[in-house]
Symmetry: C2
Subunit: 260 residues, 2 copies
Amino acid sequence: MELFYAYDSDSRICRLDADESGHCCRVLRHRVGDEVNVIDGLGTMYRCRLVDDNPKGAEAEVLEAFPGWGGHPYRLTVACCPTKNNDRFEWFVEKATEVGVDRIVPTIGERSERKVYKTDRALRIALSATKQSLKARIPEIAEPVSVKDFIQISPLASLGRNDSTPCHFERSPEGGVEKSLKLIAYCFEGDTKRISIQEALKAYEGKDITILIGPEGDFSPEEARLAVEHGYIPVHLGASRLRTETAAVLAATAVYLHFE
Amino acid sequence: MELFYAYDSDSRICRLDADESGHCCRVLRHRVGDEVNVIDGLGTMYRCRLVDDNPKGAEAEVLEAFPGWGGHPYRLTVACCPTKNNDRFEWFVEKATEVGVDRIVPTIGERSERKVYKTDRALRIALSATKQSLKARIPEIAEPVSVKDFIQISPLASLGRNDSTPCHFERSPEGGVEKSLKLIAYCFEGDTKRISIQEALKAYEGKDITILIGPEGDFSPEEARLAVEHGYIPVHLGASRLRTETAAVLAATAVYLHFE
């Protein structure tokens, strides 16, 4: 099944940008009259008929709409410090998208080796993985934010985001901030008791989950303390020592399996 | 914590090969008398004192042995068809090793686009991920085998393996072949009922698990039929359509989380 992404769509017409139009009309040689499947990146898949096969700007008329297509029954934010090796973070973006994530927030920790992160490649990877894994909603890739700032923002607030991200993180229909589960994976030293991520998920009845994953050098004690003060629950991800990007994908996978 | 791998070790002496010796004595500048931590790749970590700092062949005397160090409470074989893009399969090897796997079997399916697979790079990746994730046992990377041959081999039999693999897959202490859980992730069409991988794990009381993951083009119906005839339980990995390597890592992660 081939999916195309429409940067602009309504209940009648889907418009493809130059990249998607070229792929649809030049590479795959679709012509006016062909049926194509189009996603709006916001959660709806449209069965369409091509009405303009211009390879620089194709248009398709909507025959049928499938809201919530390929969706998942939770809302997950993974805030993760970009790794020194960019490929590793991009791999996390691809895998978390395949498994099912709603928002990825590149966070910069005090001990992060990478202090700058550009979101444009991650956006392309998220779009590609969304189509490949047959989903209609592209995860939001937020603009980078410091770990401390992220902790102090309400988990359901809108973050500064790249304008080309087509998604908005919506407020939980069940309620406000209080109902969201906030987890921090950190090797707290001393007395801090940590539960496993599965125990934390089992004890929670809502659907809004935020997971914070630190950089290669881990969070600073101040960042960890601030997170706990703001309601983050310290969790561990099992006995293995995992790389940053592995921890982030494992956390997203634990949520996905929990809601299966 | 830095770990070195000894290709040869006994209760008294660990011997490092040229790569490991160079890393230990030239790069990290360890000298005779320094304490170093050495793994034998078979499950034991040794606290040692360096007695020969030759960067082409270092030796360390054992001070203390930690058998089962960094181990996990299950025995997992993931048999996965190598992906067209080799990086994706190697990524699976790295991530499965970090999470915890005992044996990786590259299987060639009737619909595999990649019919040939060389294990040497995967062996290096598995060694590196073993050390990075603080484990003493390197997963075995078996020589490639056809899906049909693999299905017909007892899951606890020794497979043809690369001679440089230091691990042996051991027979379950609890019993024989009957007690091992064999799973196949395949989109069976028609009437075949599939349970989730978690349901299959919950219903199983043993510790020997084999998971078979198909190629990009999926298993052939004959391969799937043969697997079921040989006791493989059809499972699904949730609602998402996952890439081959993502499915393989997710399956290993589900086992890891199940035994947490």
